[in-house]
C-alpha cells in the first residue's frame, strides 16, 4: 500500500526542497484564507508555479483554507476557491464547514483540517457524508481512535513530526487575550511557550526549580511508522510551514527512508536511533510520540530547564562547485574546522562523508576554522556536489 508523505512549504524555495527530498505531496498557505500569517504564504501566481513544479513530478499540492471565518471574509470565499480550482490545486484543507459548498461547487477535493479537532468515528462519518474525502485528525487521537476512524472509510491523515499545540486546536485563544493576535486566524503568538508564576487557590506561589509553562515537547512518530502504515493511515503529515529548508530536507529525507523501508518490510532499516538523533538535533527540541500511545503525562511537557540538544549539525549550504579544482563554495551555518568528519546531504544522491582537509577563505588563504555565520569559504571535496546540497556533521 502506498502511503503519502506530506510536507509543509512556506514558499516556493522550500516547496522545491520538500519535493526534491522525497515528499509525495506538499501543503501550502494561500495569502487570502490561510492560517500561519507569519509563514510567507503564497500569492496566486506563486501557487500556479508551485502546482506546475509539483505536478511535473507527479506529486500533489494542497492549499490550506483554514482560518476561522468572520463575516467580512464570507464574500471572498467563492471567488478564491474558484481561482484555486482553475489552476489544478489537488485539494483544499478546510476547517470551517461554511467553505464546503464552495469547494463542491468547483469540484475541489475537501480535506478537513486538524483545526476541526476530529477525535471520533461519528464525527468522521458525518463529514464523510458531507463530501469530505480526507480528515486530518486531532493531534489528541490515540491509536485506537485512529483505527476506528479509518474503519469509516474516510481517508485519514495524521501528524508524524513537528511542534505540538498545548491546547486542543480551535480551543486556545491565549494569543488573543495576551497579545490581541488571533490564534484561530493566523496570529498565534505561542503564549504556551511563555513562563508563568503558578499560584494555588489561595494565591500562594508554588515554586519549583523551573517556571511553569504550558509548553509540550515536539511530536516524533519515527518509531511508530510501521505500525501507522499497518493500521491504514493514508497520509503522514510533517508540521511546520515556517521551518527552514535544512529542517525540511532533513526531516523529509529521514521519514522518506523509514517509510520506504517499512513498505519493503526492511525492519532493520526502518528505525534507528541515529535518525532520531538527527531529527532531534535539527529541531533543537526533544520529541515524543505524544497521544498516539495514550501517554500524555509529564514526560510530554517541556520546562525551561530542559536539556538542550545541540543544533549545530547543520554546517553549511553548497553555493557552487568547481569541478576542475574540486572546490565547493560553502556558506557557513555553524562552526566547522579542518579535520571534522562531515557529510554532504543531497536530494538526488547518497549521502557522502569525508574529512575536511583544505579550507580557503574569500581571499584564497588556507584556513583551519570557519567560525563566522554566513562566511563564504571553499572546501576541497573530491566528489561532485551541487548547489543546494547541505553539509552537516557526520554522526556515527
Amino acid at each position: 500500500m502506498r502511503v503519502e508523505l506530506l510536507a509543509p512549504a512556506g514558499d516556493l524555495e522550500r516547496l522545491k526542497v520538500a519535493i526534491d527530498y522525497g515528499a509525495d505531496a506538499v501543503y501550502i498557505g494561500y495569502q487570502v484564507l490561510s492560517l500561519r500569517a507569519n509563514a510567507i504564504n503564497f500569492t496566486y501566481d506563486e501557487i500556479k508555479e508551485a502546482v506546475k513544479y509539483v505536478h511535473d513530478r507527479n506529486k500533489k499540492i494542497y492549499v490550506t483554507v483554514n482560518i476561522v471565518l468572520h463575516d467580512k471574509e464570507l464574500s471572498i470565499i467563492d471567488e478564491n476557491v474558484k481561482k484555486l480550482s482553475q489552476i489544478g490545486v489537488d485539494a483544499l484543507i478546510i476547517s470551517d464547514p461554511a467553505i464546503f459548498k464552495y469547494a463542491k461547487k468547483y469540484n475541489m477535493e475537501i480535506h478537513l483540517s486538524t483545526q476541526a479537532s476530529t477525535m471520533n468515528y461519528k464525527t468522521a462519518e458525518f463529514f464523510k457524508k458531507q463530501g469530505v474525502k480526507r480528515v486530518v485528525l486531532a493531534r489528541e487521537c490515540k491509536k485506537e481512535d485512529i483505527k476506528a476512524i479509518i474503519d469509516t472509510g474516510i481517508d485519514v491523515e495524521t501528524f508524524i513530526h513537528g511542534a505540538m499545540c498545548a491546547g486542543i486546536s480551535g480551543r486556545c485563544v491565549m494569543s488573543n487575550i495576551f497579545t490581541n493576535r488571533d490564534a484561530n486566524r493566523g496570529g498565534c503568538s505561542q503564549i504556551c511557550r511563555w513562563d508563568f508564576e503558578l499560584l494555588d487557590k489561595n494565591f500562594n506561589n508554588i515554586t519549583a526549580n523551573m517556571p511553569f509553562t504550558f509548553c509540550s515537547k515536539d511530536l516524533s512518530m519515527l518509531k511508530y511508522i510501521e505500525d501507522m502504515i499497518k493500521i491504514g493511515i493514508k497520509s503522514f503529515k510533517i508540521e511546520g510551514r515556517m521551518r527552514s529548508s535544512y529542517y525540511l530536507a532533513t526531516v523529509i529525507s529521514i521519514y522518506r527512508k523509514v517509510i520506504d523501508n517499512c513498505l519493503k518490510h526492511d525492519k532493520k532499516e526502518a528505525y534507528n536511533i541515529k535518525d532520531k538523533q538527527i531529527l532531534d538535533n535539527c529541531s533543537n527540541r526533544d520529541s515524543v510520540p505524544q497521544f498516539y500511545n495514550g501517554i500524555y503525562d509529564k514526560t510530554c511537557s517541556y520546562y525551561n530547564g530542559r536539556i538542550e540538544v545541540s543544533n549545530q549539525d547543520f554546517l553549511g549550504v553548497v553555493l557552487d562547485y568547481d569541478k576542475k579544482n574540486k572546490l565547493a563554495t560553502i556558506e557557513q551555518r555553524n562552526y566547522f574546522k579542518k579535520g571534522d568528519l562531515v557529510e554532504i546531504f543531497s536530494s538526488n544522491s547518497e549521502n557522502m562523508e569525508f574529512i575536511i582537509d583544505k579550507i580557503y577563505d574569500e581571499n584564497n588563504n588556507l584556513i583551519d576554522i570557519v567560525r563566522h555565520p554566513k562566511q563564504i569559504v571553499q572546501v576541497y571535496i573530491n566528489k561532485n556536489v551541487k548547489k543546494g546540497d547541505f553539509m552537516r556533521k557526520k554522526r556515527n
Binding site: 471574509e73 464570507l74 471520533n120 486542543i168 508563568f196 508564576e197
Partner: protein
C-alpha cells in the same frame, strides 16, 4: 432573556428570580466549568425549575470510547424537559433526530460568522452560542443574517484555553510538588489568570467580561452570565442589577458592575483581534 452558568448550587437557588434559564454542566463531558452534575442532580433541578429554560452543556471533545455513554445521556435527557444541549463535538449533531430538544452550536471560539451558523442550522441546530472573540459589530451582523437563535456572553470570565493534557498536574508531578485541588492561578506581568485542572485543563481570561453597556444594542435571544469564580453575593448583585436594567439606566448598571470588580473589561466587543501578522 438571561441564562446563568452556576459555579455552585447556591448560585442556582439564590438567584431564581433573576434568570430565565440556566446552563448546567454534566460530569465527565463538560469543560470550562467547576460545577458539574450527574444526571440525577440534573433531573432534580429540572423538576424544581419547571418554568426555566434549562440547557445542558456537553461541550467536551468526545472520544470514541465515550460515544455510547454520551448517546445514552442525550437520550435520557429526552425525559427531562430541557430546552437544549450545548455541544462542541460534531458527533452530537448526528443524534439530533432522536432528541426532543434543541441543539446549540457552542464551539466557543469558532462561532464567528453567520454562514457557518446557517450551515449547522441546515442540520436542525437552531441555536448558536457566539464566540467571545468577536466585536459588537460582528455580533450584530451575525444576528441579522443567521437563521438560528443567538446566545451571547454578557458577564463573567471567558475561556481562553482547553487541553486534554493535565497542564498543571504534569508540572506539579515533574517537580514532585504536593498541591491539592483543581483550581490554580497563573500570574504574568501582574495579571492573574484562573486555570482549572480536572479531566481536562482549562484556563480563563484575567478580566471578567462586562458586556452590559450593549445590552439593548445587541439584544440576542439569550445572554449568558457566568458565575464561575464570582463570589455568590457579588454574582447575585450583578444578576439583580441586570434584572433591573432598562434603556435609561443601562450605562449606570454597566458602571456599577465595573466598580464592583478590579479586573473587568469589555473583552473584544470594541477591539478587533489582529488576524494577519506580517514579519
Amino acid at each position: 432573556m438571561i441564562l446563568i452558568i452556576p459555579d455552585n448550587y447556591n448560585q442556582i437557588i439564590d438567584n431564581v428570580k433573576y434568570y430565565d434559564g440556566i446552563i448546567l454542566s454534566i460530569e465527565k463531558y463538560s469543560v470550562n466549568v467547576r460545577y458539574q452534575l450527574n444526571l440525577n442532580d440534573i433531573k432534580k433541578i429540572c423538576n424544581n425549575l419547571k418554568d426555566k429554560d434549562i440547557f445542558i452543556s456537553i461541550n467536551k471533545n468526545i472520544e470514541n470510547d465515550e460515544l455510547d455513554d454520551v448517546e445514552n445521556i442525550l437520550l435520557e435527557l429526552n425525559n427531562y424537559n430541557i430546552k437544549g444541549v450545548l455541544y462542541s463535538d460534531v458527533s452530537i449533531v448526528t443524534y439530533k433526530d432522536k432528541l426532543n430538544y434543541e441543539l446549540v452550536w457552542a464551539q466557543e471560539h469558532l462561532v464567528t460568522n453567520y454562514e457557518t451558523i446557517n450551515y449547522w442550522n441546515d442540520f436542525n441546530v437552531n441555536y448558536a452560542y457566539l464566540s467571545s472573540d468577536i466585536t459588537k459589530a460582528e455580533i450584530i451582523d451575525i444576528k441579522k443574517n443567521a437563521k438560528s437563535k443567538i446566545i451571547c456572553n454578557l458577564f463573567g470570565y471567558v475561556s481562553m484555553f482547553v487541553s486534554k493534557r493535565h497542564i498543571v498536574g504534569n508540572y506539579l508531578d515533574s517537580f514532585s510538588i504536593d498541591s491539592k485541588g483543581e483550581l490554580f492561578y497563573l500570574r504574568k506581568e501582574g495579571k492573574i489568570y484562573p486555570i482549572i485542572d480536572k479531566e481536562y485543563t482549562y484556563a480563563f481570561s484575567n478580566n471578567i467580561f462586562n458586556g452590559i453597556k450593549e445590552f439593548f444594542n445587541i439584544n440576542p435571544n439569550y445572554y449568558v452570565c457566568n458565575g464561575l469564580l464570582i463570589e455568590n453575593d457579588k454574582f447575585s448583585k450583578v444578576l439583580f442589577l441586570i434584572d433591573s436594567i432598562n434603556e435609561e439606566n443601562v450605562e449606570q448598571v454597566y458602571d456599577i458592575v465595573n466598580i464592583m470588580f478590579d479586573n473587568i473589561d469589555t473583552g473584544f466587543l470594541y477591539n478587533e483581534t489582529i488576524s494577519k501578522v506580517k514579519k
